[in-house]
C-alpha cells in the first residue's frame, strides 16, 4: 500500500470500529431493535479485502464485513437505518441488522442468513462477468463455520471448473458461535482444502490490513486477467460474542487477551505512526469517524419507521 491507500485503510478501519462500538453501546442501552452482530476484530479483513476491489467489481459481504459495506459507499446512516428498521434503511425495514444490506448500484449483494449462500451467489455474479466478457471480479466471504457446509464444496468445485473470476475470503475467526474450530473440523488449515479443487490458496494474517490487501489484490488481478479463482484464508479472532446478546463465556480469556494484543486497528495505527504518519492525522480521522457516526445515528433514530400499509409491496419485481 502506498501512503494514500494506507491512510484510506485507516480511515475505513476507524470508521468501522467506531460504528461497531457505537452500535454495541446503543444495544446495551436498549436503543436497538432485535439483535445484531459485532465485527470487532474483523476490521483488517473487511477493509483490506474490500479495498482490493475495483468500482465495477461486485462483493457479497457477510455479517462481520461492515468495513466492506462502508468503503464501497454504503453510508453509516443507511446502515443504522437498517439496524433500526427505518424506511430509509438499506432494506426499507424489511431485513434485520446486518442482513439485507444490498445495493446493486454500489455493486453490493446483500447478506442472507443461510450459510454459506453468499458463495454460490457471488460465483454466479462472476459467471455473469465471464459470460459477458466483462473485466469484472466477484468476491465473497465465508466463516470457518460456513466452510463446513456443502455449498462451499459445490461452489469451489464449479469455480475451478469454470475458471470464474471469483475470489473467496475465508474469515477464520476460531469460532462458529460457541463452537471452537477443533469441534468444526479435524484439520487446522482450511486453506489446505483448496488444492483438492485445483485452486490456489493463501493464508494471511487477518489482523494485518496490508497483508490482507496484498493477497486480495493479487487474487483480484489474477481473476480479472483470466487466471481464474482464488481463495484466501484470513486468520483472525471474533473479539465479542456471536451476536449482541452472547457473552461468549465459552471463549478462553487467554485466547482473547492474545488477540487483543494484536488488535487490527491499534496495530495498524502503531505501524503508521512508526512509518512517519503524524498521530494527529490519525486522531483527525478518528474524530471525523466519531462525528460521522454520531450524525448517522441521529439521522437514523429520527427517521420514520415504514408505513404498515406498505407491508405487501415489493414481493415481486
Amino acid at each position: 500500500m502506498n501512503e494514500t491507500l494506507r491512510l484510506n485503510a485507516y480511515r475505513w478501519m476507524t470508521l468501522t470500529r467506531t460504528f461497531d462500538e457505537t452500535m454495541v453501546a446503543m444495544w446495551k442501552q436498549g436503543r436497538g431493535i432485535g439483535g445484531t452482530f459485532s465485527e470487532r476484530g474483523h476490521e483488517a479483513v473487511s477493509v483490506g479485502a474490500g479495498m482490493a476491489l475495483g468500482p465495477d467489481d461486485v462483493v457479497a459481504p457477510m455479517h462481520r464485513d461492515l468495513g466492506t459495506y462502508l468503503l464501497r459507499g454504503m453510508t453509516p446512516e443507511r446502515i443504522f437505518g437498517n439496524l433500526l428498521g427505518r424506511q430509509m434503511g438499506v432494506s426499507g425495514g424489511r431485513d434485520a441488522n446486518l442482513h439485507g444490506l444490498g445495493d446493486l448500484d454500489l455493486n453490493i449483494i446483500g447478506f442472507i442468513s443461510h450459510i454459506p449462500q453468499a458463495i454460490p451467489t457471488a460465483l454466479g455474479a462472476a459467471m455473469a462477468f465471464r459470460y459477458r466478457d466483462e473485466p469484472r471480479v466477484a468476491m465473497t466471504f465465508v466463516g470457518d463455520g460456513g466452510s463446513c457446509s456443502g455449498a462451499f464444496h459445490e461452489s469451489l468445485n464449479m469455480a475451478a471448473l469454470y475458471n470464474a473470476p471469483f475470489v473467496l475470503i475465508i474469515e477464520n475467526n476460531q469460532y462458529a458461535y460457541s463452537t471452537p474450530l477443533s469441534q468444526e473440523m479435524k484439520i487446522a488449515d482450511i486453506a489446505g482444502r483448496l488444492p483438492g479443487y485445483g485452486l490456489a490458496a493463501t493464508t494471511v494474517d487477518g489482523n494485518d490490513v496490508e497483508a490482507v490487501y496484498a493477497a486480495t489484490t493479487d487474487a483480484v488481478e489474477r481473476a480479472r486477467s483470466g487466471g481464474g479463482p482464488s481463495v484466501i484464508e484470513a486468520r483472525t479472532m471474533r473479539m465479542l460474542g456471536h451476536a449482541i446478546h452472547d457473552g461468549a463465556q465459552y471463549v478462553p480469556e487467554a485466547l482473547l487477551a492474545e488477540w487483543e494484543s494484536r488488535d487490527p486497528v491499534r496495530m495498524f495505527r502503531t505501524r503508521l505512526i512508526k512509518g512517519g504518519v503524524p498521530a494527529e492525522d490519525l486522531d483527525a480521522l478518528d474524530q471525523a469517524a466519531a462525528t460521522e457516526i454520531a450524525a448517522a445515528v441521529r439521522v437514523a433514530e429520527a427517521a420514520p419507521l415504514p408505513d404498515p400499509e406498505s407491508v405487501g409491496e415489493g414481493v415481486f419485481a
Binding site: P120, Y131, V315
Partner: protein, 341 residues
C-alpha cells in the same frame, strides 16, 4: 468448456404455426427466447453438448448457441441454483433444468430462501426460470415422479406455472423467461410425447396469472392443472352422456392464482371438484378449496371435493401407482356425487 461460440443471428426457430408435442413446444420456446435475448442461457445437468438433457428438451441448443450459453453443471443443485441467483442479479436470465422435479429439493435453500426473498429485501431482481419435469404415472418410482409445487406456492416470493397444453408449454415458458421474478415451471413429463397441439410460431407469450376455461358447463366445475386437466376432460366426457354438464378450469399459473377466474367458475355451477396429481394434503387444491369456501360460500350448493395423490410417497408398482393417482374414474365419481347432491 469452450468459450468460442458467439451469439446467433439466425432467424427464429419456427416463424409459422405448427402442431407440436408438449416437449417440442418447450424446446421451441427455448430456441426462440435464446435467439431473441442474449441474456437467456440454459444450465443444468447434462443439458449441453449433443445430448440435450435427460429428456432431450435442450437438444440442439448447444449446437446453435454454443457451450457458453448451454452450460453443463456438476451434480450440485444447491449451488448451481445459487449460481443462477447471482447470474440473475447481474441481469442474465438463466433457465435452470432440474433433471427431475424430484431433485428440486436438493436446491431448496437457493430457491426458497435466497431467490424468493431477494426482491422484497431490496437485494435485487432474480429473473430466473427453473424447469422441473414433474409428475408420474409412468412407473418411475418415488424419486422420479414427484409433484412438489405446493412447497413453492406456499413460499412467498416465487411464481409457479404448470402448463397443460403444447401452446401453453411454449407460451408460459416464454413468459417465465421474460418475467423479472424467479419462476418455477413445472412441466408434466407424462405429457411430453403423449399430447400434440397447435402452437403459434415465432414469439408466443402467455400471460402468467391467468386461468383458462377448457370446457364450459353448468352443472359441476372441475378445477385442475397439468396432467389432470386432461383427466378432468376425460371424466367430463364420461358423464356428458348422462346429461351432466361439466366445466373444466385449467389454472395454468399456480402463483399468483387467478382468484377471479376460480371464483367465477365456482359460482357458475355451485359445485366444485379440485384435482391435482400432487398429494392432496396441504396441496394447492387446499388453497383453491379454501378460497372458494371463504369467498364464494353463498354460491356453494355442495361440499367441495378435492382429489389428489394419496398421502404416501409415489409407489412404483403399477397397481399401487394407479391406486395412488387421481384418475378419470375417481373424478367421475366425484362429479356424479356432486351432480346428485
Amino acid at each position: 468448456m469452450s468459450d468460442n461460440f458467439g451469439f446467433s443471428d439466425a432467424p427464429q426457430h419456427a416463424p409459422e404455426d405448427r402442431t407440436l408435442t408438449y416437449l417440442e413446444a418447450i424446446t421451441e420456446a427455448l430456441f426462440v427466447e435464446m435467439d431473441r435475448d442474449e441474456d437467456v442461457l440454459v444450465m443444468g445437468e447434462d443439458v449441453g453438448g449433443d445430448f440435450g438433457g435427460a429428456f432431450n428438451a435442450t437438444k440442439g441448443l448447444a449446437a446453435k448457441f454454443g457451450d457458453r450459453r448451454v452450460i453443463n453443471t456438476p451434480i450440485a443443485e444447491l449451488s448451481f441454483t445459487g449460481m443462477a441467483n447471482g447470474m440473475a442479479l447481474m441481469g442474465l436470465r438463466p433457465v435452470v433444468e432440474m433433471q427431475f422435479a424430484d431433485f428440486i429439493s436438493s436446491g431448496f435453500d437457493s430457491i426458497v430462501q435466497f431467490a424468493a426473498t431477494s426482491h422484497y429485501r431490496g437485494i435485487g431482481k432474480v429473473p430466473w426460470v427453473i424447469r422441473a419435469p414433474s409428475d408420474g404415472g409412468i412407473r418411475s418410482g418415488p424419486f422420479h415422479s414427484q409433484n412438489p409445487e405446493a412447497w413453492f406456492v406456499h413460499t412467498p416470493g416465487l411464481k409457479v406455472v404448470a402448463p397443460s397444453t403444447p401452446a401453453d408449454a411454449k407460451g408460459l415458458l416464454a413468459a417465465a423467461i421474460r418475467d423479472d421474478n424467479p419462476v418455477i415451471y413445472f412441466e408434466a413429463k407424462p405429457l411430453y410425447r403423449s399430447i400434440k397441439g397447435d402452437v403459434p410460431g415465432g414469439e408466443h407469450v402467455s400471460e402468467i396469472g391467468k386461468a383458462a376455461v377448457r370446457r364450459s358447463g353448468t352443472d359441476v366445475t372441475v378445477i385442475a392443472y397439468g396432467t389432470q386437466v386432461h383427466t378432468a376432460l376425460d371424466a367430463a366426457e364420461r358423464v356428458a352422456a348422462d346429461g351432466i354438464d361439466v366445466a373444466v378450469l385449467d389454472l395454468r399459473t399456480l402463483k399468483p392464482l387467478d382468484t377471479e377466474a376460480i371464483l367465477e367458475a365456482a359460482i357458475k355451477t355451485g359445485k366444485v371438484v379440485v384435482v391435482h396429481a400432487a398429494n392432496r394434503m396441504v396441496g394447492v387444491g387446499a388453497e383453491v378449496a379454501s378460497l372458494i369456501a371463504e369467498e364464494a360460500f353463498e354460491s356453494l350448493d355442495a361440499p367441495i371435493i378435492r382429489i389428489g395423490g394419496l398421502d404416501t410417497p409415489v409407489p412404483f408398482s403399477p397397481p399401487l401407482e394407479d391406486a395412488y393417482r387421481p384418475s378419470a374414474g375417481k373424478i367421475e365419481s366425484a362429479i356424479r356425487k356432486l351432480a346428485d347432491y
